[in-house]
């Protein structure tokens, strides 16, 4: 009964979401069938569109994984956006600084650099939370804006491409760019980086004592403290990993996709990451699935706009509504769920 109630409640959420989507499509005056067809063909219609889903999923997997690691120890990371940008800064600076290194050394180094930059950007709020109890929600949020502003300053000053009038850096040296799998698509080796990170995080958080301590702190800090687990150490560590993963997302976006630093490389991936982690229940595998789902939603809604005239902002509405319904699930479907 318990299991079926849970399944039914999620089914209810799916039906409600579908109903709201249909309502929105009808409001635009589009044909519902055509809209759904164009949504699906926007995702599965061609080889390129499927690869685009994966391209969008790469930063979502990495940032979502980061948020999930933080959430496991009770560190609510709203700052993945800023940490992503710090990773992007790291890869750009390092690529120009070490430009004569071969790719085999350069790629691991820039990934490490992105991890460190993103990690530092997140470990400061983590430290403030662990040591002084300052809420990480506001600090990580403020760090986002500072990071984005730093990118804006850098691409207008020391990293600016002198041969262009636009605020962006020059193209990275070839040794710092991630290879593209197939020349007709934009799908790059960042996907491998993301999947390797997923496996590593899964091992770290579920198969090692360090991960066990981190999860214990997230579940009950006081009990952990009483049994000799350092709350301070684990929050700092998980915030470091959390930000580091988001930093790697920044590295992948710059060296895999854009090949240069510019403003707006992330259309809010760091914020969507929180939804990814929530839908994925803070589990690495869940994060991959929900990142693919949200990437498909976004790519599909582009197709829906092209062919059925439904504004892409529908994907943002659907994301918000799904999360709100999930948050309200236990109250909405109280009759179906067993008492806790």
């Amino acid at each position: 009964m318990k299991q079926s109630g849970n399944v039914l409640s999620f089914l209810g959420i799916a039906i409600l979401t579908l109903g709201i989507s249909i309502l929105l499509i009808l409001m635009v005056g589009s044909n519902v069938n055509q809209a759904f067809f164009s949504f699906l063909s926007g995702i599965f219609g061609s080889f390129y569109s499927v690869s685009e889903v994966l391209v969008k999923a790469i930063p979502l997997i990495l940032t979502g994984l980061g948020v999930a690691v933080g959430a496991r120890s009770g560190f609510i990371n709203i700052g993945a956006e800023g940490q992503l940008y710090m990773g992007a800064i790291a890869v750009t600076c390092m690529a120009f600084w070490l430009n004569d290194l071969p790719a085999i050394l350069m790629i691991p180094l820039v990934i490490l650099g992105g991890f460190v930059f993103g990690g530092v950007w997140s470990v400061i709020p983590g430290f403030l939370k662990a040591r002084f109890g300052i809420s990480e929600v506001i600090t990580t949020l403020m760090f986002n804006y500072i990071a984005i502003s730093i990118v804006g300053i850098l691409v207008r000053t020391i990293l600016k491409d002198p041969s262009s009038s636009l605020p962006m850096s020059a193209f990275l040296p070839d040794s710092a760019t991630l290879p593209v799998f197939m020349s007709t698509t934009r799908l790059h080796a960042g996907l491998l980086v993301a999947l390797i990170s997923v496996v590593l995080v899964w091992i770290l958080v579920w198969k090692t004592p360090i991960g066990y301590e981190m999860r214990a702190v997230g579940l009950n800090p006081r009990a952990s403290k009483c049994s000799g687990i350092s709350v301070y150490k684990n929050i700092v560590l998980s915030s470091l990993i959390s930000g580091g993963l988001a930093g790697i997302a920044g590295v992948c976006e710059v060296s895999g996709l854009h090949h240069k630093l510019l403003e707006g490389i992330s259309p809010g991936y760091g914020y969507i990451a929180i939804i990814v982690a929530l839908l994925g229940k803070n589990h690495p595998l869940g994060v991959v699935i929900s990142a693919l789902g949200i990437a498909a939603l976004q790519v599909g809604s582009l197709g829906m706009q092209r062919m059925a005239g439904v504004p892409t902002s529908i994907s943002s509405i659907i994301m918000g509504v799904v999360v709100l319904l999930i948050l309200a699930r236990k109250s909405l479907f109280r009759r179906l769920l067993p008492d806790e």
Partner: protein, 312 residues
């Protein structure tokens, strides 16, 4: 001081107050909400909703006051969703606020496209004009900045005074503090924690909606996608900088308003400094203030924690 300098200061003060007004309104609302223990990251959503509905109603009725009312309703709508989720459903308040931001960002631009379609020229409405207050507006320097402005500035100024009285001089204010600091104790003392928290959310909606309306009906006279452009997040920073104190919020909003006014001015003058230096400024100051306040507990202790009557 020569008259040129005074004129410059006056000009900057007027611009700063205008920039600060939405921040003051939304910041005061958020402060009241946080005092009661509800951390609402969705200020941006509240303001967007206020901005959108105030514009739509003002555009179609031609009546700015009806627009203002619609803006308030729009704000309350979003804030109460957050309230129900965090009070009744005991959901994670941060994630609820974030989800609302996504939803309202999408919904306002979606509805705007449905109503007006793809247009090259933005549809516009009139804005509230300045109302000069006799005598007070002739005070040198601050007179024209504070007392020759539109209705939103006056609402903001009055709200500061009212919130200060409410926080520090009334029993209601003490109840609000109690609910945010120790809901269990407040409950034992016979206060209705849920009702007080809903009330705080309601006020947050009213003030945040006004803040959003002040952007469309007080400054711009039009609406576009993401018209608030992060002001809701800046309002959160204002609350931290001002330490949830109404006067502090006013000061913090003015500092940020000044840096924004300066930013636009330097942009038009063509200074070689990237404007990001100035847009970063409030956040850096807020981080420094946070560092300086280390050791002093400034957050309400029950901030962000749902209240469950039968739990300790």
């Amino acid at each position: 001081m020569d008259s040129g300098f005074i004129a410059l200061v006056t000009m900057y003060l007027i611009a700063s107050v205008r920039m600060a007004t939405p921040l003051i309104l939304a910041g005061l609302g958020e402060a009241i909400s946080e005092k009661a223990g509800i951390l609402n990251i969705g200020v941006e959503a509240i303001m967007l909703s206020g901005a959108f509905f105030s514009f739509i109603v003002a555009f179609f009725t031609g009546n700015l006051f009806l627009g203002l009312l619609a803006g308030i309703m729009g704000g309350i709508f979003v804030s109460m969703i957050h309230g129900v989720l965090s009070i009744h459903c005991k959901a994670n308040q941060t994630i609820a606020g974030l989800a609302l931001n996504f939803m309202m960002m999408g919904l306002t631009s979606f509805l705007f496209l449905i109503v007006f379609g793809q247009t090259t020229t933005l549809p516009s409405c009139s804005v509230f004009s300045e109302v000069k207050i006799p005598l007070l507006s002739s005070i040198p320097i601050i007179g024209s900045a504070l007392f020759n402005q539109n209705i939103f500035v006056y609402i903001a100024l009055i709200s500061i005074v009212l919130t200060a009285i409410f926080f520090y001089k009334t029993e209601w204010g003490i109840n609000l503090h109690a609910v945010g600091e120790h809901p269990q104790a407040a409950n034992s003392a016979g206060l209705n924690v849920f009702a007080i928290r809903y009330f705080a959310c309601f006020v947050n909606g009213v003030l945040g909606g006004l803040g959003g309306a002040s952007i469309t009906l007080g400054q711009l006279g039009f609406f576009m996608e993401n018209v608030t452009s992060g002001r809701g997040y800046i309002a959160l920073v204002v609350v931290i900088l001002g330490r949830r104190n109404p006067v502090g919020i006013f000061a913090a909003a003015m500092v940020i308003g000044f840096s924004q006014a300066l930013q636009y001015n330097l942009q038009t003058l063509g200074f070689p400094i990237p404007t990001q230096v100035f847009s970063m400024f409030p956040y850096v100051v807020a981080v420094i203030v946070l560092f300086l306040s280390i050791g002093k507990s400034i957050d309400p202790s029950a901030l962000g924690i749902p209240f469950e009557r039968n739990k300790r």
